[in-house]
Amino acid sequence: MKILIQNGRIIDPANQIDQLGDLQIADGLIQPTSENFEPQQSLDATGLIISPGLIDLRARLREPGQKHKGTIFSESRAAAAGGITMVSIPPDTKPIIDSTAVVELIRQKAEQAGFVEVAPLGALTKGLEGEQLSTMGALKSAGCRAVSNAQNPIHNTQVLRRAFEYANTHDLTVFIHPQDYWLKDGGCAHEGAISTRLGLPGIPDAAETAGVARDLVLIRSTGVRAHFCGISSQQALQMITQARKEGLPITADTAIHHLYLTEMDIGQFNPNSHVIPPLRTERDRTGLIEGVCSGAIQALCSDHQPHDDDAKAAPFEETEPGISGLETLLPLTLRLAKEQHLPLIDALATVTCNPASILGLQSGTLSPGAPANITLFNPDTWWTVRADQLLSAGKNSPFLNWELQGRVTHTLLNGAIVYEAP
């Protein structure tokens, strides 16, 4: 199928392009502009932005293992509606992604659904138990771009060191969720004024900074390439930024909700604001925003965790943590650009070429010859987030009833239109 996207504002952060123009697509690839291109379909992109499809570094699709919360079909369809064309999946599925069979299963299901590409992360340790190394070499051959222990702790620092060394041996990036298990100690909210007032078990900043400190020491000594996932505190970010300046091969992301919400948003026990790592203080929120603007945080992600209603229908501390975020990632990124006077091209880099490069991919661009993974959106359209209009099976969003600006009109995956706004 030959498609011509006409007269849009093409923003391609990887190539530093921001200009009005057309895009020609054939054989699933973006074509060099040619005079005698004869499209079978034309899309009028007047007033729209043409961006590389978004790459979300962290989204739970809930399959395999928790199909009552979401399926690869339902969640990848929601991703496409959110303008996302690739999602990276943490290995804590059931079964865990510690064998090539599970990698294959996820990839096949995603291919059948046909909405997005998936990048399953391999387990860093077998069963994520923090004891035995996983078969990282085989996982890499099966297509895992990186390895991670997700939010499962590795108590034994010798195991952690060996895991880093072995990942390095196979030239794999380690995705780290920094958190000291003991300091987290069953907490469900940031340890501070709000947790004290509401009597909720708190998670101190130190849970994150102690995790980062330990991991940085071992990254330094093993030389492994590492990516810090979901940084929530300003202090942890400072430590990472400092180490990066010293030349450590590290990157960092934050979940976009941490740029908009703080502990205050727990309000009177709002379970949709229950996330791990927890929403922290205004100082942390501001620090993270500055980090995104300065480049200290390279990527933004949805940290999508869809839940069934029952998972959130309980007293706050007994609810399951997580936010359904695929469909709000783009508008919240756009809002950040607007509020912080961040050039749109830089904001879009955090959800396109930067996450691609963290995954070691050349994608997330509109370069001629690249796969035609493209998002068209109207940056001016206002819409209200409503549970019944989210395509995700998970309606657990703290942004429900928020008015957001910027709405996807078309998502293309390998040159095929996989989502078109109704």
């Binding site: 509401l198 009597g199 078990p201 101190p204």
Partner: protein
């Protein structure tokens, strides 16, 4: 949100979930109403017909003796029909969610729930899920709130001290895990108490406690200096396992209320404890039994205060229907 959940559009009590979100006139109204109800306990027929025909379910997901018993008595003295449901969190409820339990009971046309639960926010959650016209009274949720306990403590303080605006109050012990302390702090501040002190080792004091409107010290003698009211909190055994404290003996050595430490307080200081009390851990036996102690009066007052809260919430509730 808390305001709209607890109060109706006329500012009357709809649910009683936490002291936060209420206001001084309402707290005073509760105390004044309780004052009138103390007479009922002194009559030979200890009953008034205020809640006749109403059904109240005491839904206890956590064991309790004192609170449950005094609620039970308060309800019966108001002539309500009472259903006592004790649900052992670990066993009976397996498989049934809190919401299911609640919906089943709601189907039995209960007018009011009195709830105790181990999770902070449980009472708010239940209040958000009962049909309009059904009231929820929080009998303790996790570490969050125990507002009727706080009100009976305020009632007791008012009996002995009258004017809150000239009081110095010290709360001693495990504030971190205490719903009682949180509710007392809010109530004391709301009633105009100018100085609330929290005395605890740092391991038993929550972060940012000053934000609640208290002064914090980890020195017992310093904290007790000149106070008019000493509130001791219960110390639970699991605090030794959770690395909050080395031993009961060591706690008593530094934070136990002894006769000699009591010398630091005002000469007419009163001593309170929400119970159950550990003699020789938080408090010296002779101090607990001394003339300063109003611990048993607290229990008696608990009935009148709970009658006041129940009748006020039900008053609203009858109006709505």
């Amino acid at each position: 949100m808390s305001k709209s959940l607890q109060l109706d559009s006329q500012g009357r009590l709809r649910h009683f979930l936490s002291i936060e979100g209420l206001n001084r006139p309402l707290l005073t109204e509760i105390l004044d109403t309780a004052e009138r109800f103390t007479q009922v306990g002194n009559q030979s027929a200890k009953k008034v017909p205020l809640l006749r025909g109403k059904t109240i379910a005491n839904l206890f997901f956590e064991p309790s003796t004192r609170t449950r018993t005094t609620f039970d008595l308060a309800e019966k003295r108001l002539s309500a029909d009472v259903l006592n449901i004790n649900i052992n969190n670990s066993a009976t409820t397996k498989g049934e969610t809190l919401l299911d339990t609640l919906q089943n009971l709601t189907a039995m046309q209960i007018d009011m729930f009195v709830v105790r639960h181990s999770a902070s926010g449980a009472a708010h959650f239940i209040a958000q899920h009962v049909p309009g016209g059904v009231s929820v009274i929080n009998a303790g949720d996790g570490r969050h709130a125990h507002p009727t306990q706080a009100m009976l403590d305020m009632f007791t303080i008012r009996k002995y001290k009258e004017d809150f605006t000239r009081l110095r109050v010290a709360i001693v012990g495990d504030v971190m895990h205490s719903r009682v302390a949180r509710s007392q702090i809010h109530a004391l501040n709301m009633l105009g108490c100018p100085e609330v002190r929290v005395i605890a080792p740092k391991t038993l004091c929550p972060s940012h406690v000053e934000n609640l409107g208290v002064h914090f010290t980890h020195n017992m003698e310093e904290g007790l200096e000149g106070v008019d009211v000493v509130i001791m909190l219960r110390l639970q055994n699991e605090r030794m396992r959770g690395a909050n404290l080395p031993s009961k003996d060591e706690f008593f050595r530094f934070y136990g209320l002894t006769e000699s430490r009591l010398q630091c307080a005002a000469t007419d200081a009163i001593i309170m404890h929400p119970g159950p009390m550990n003699r020789g851990v938080e408090i010296e036996s002779s101090v607990a039994d001394s003339q300063h102690s109003v611990i048993l009066q607290q229990v008696t007052n608990g009935i009148a205060v709970r009658m006041a809260v129940l009748s006020m919430a039900m008053q609203h509730n009858s109006g709505e229907r």
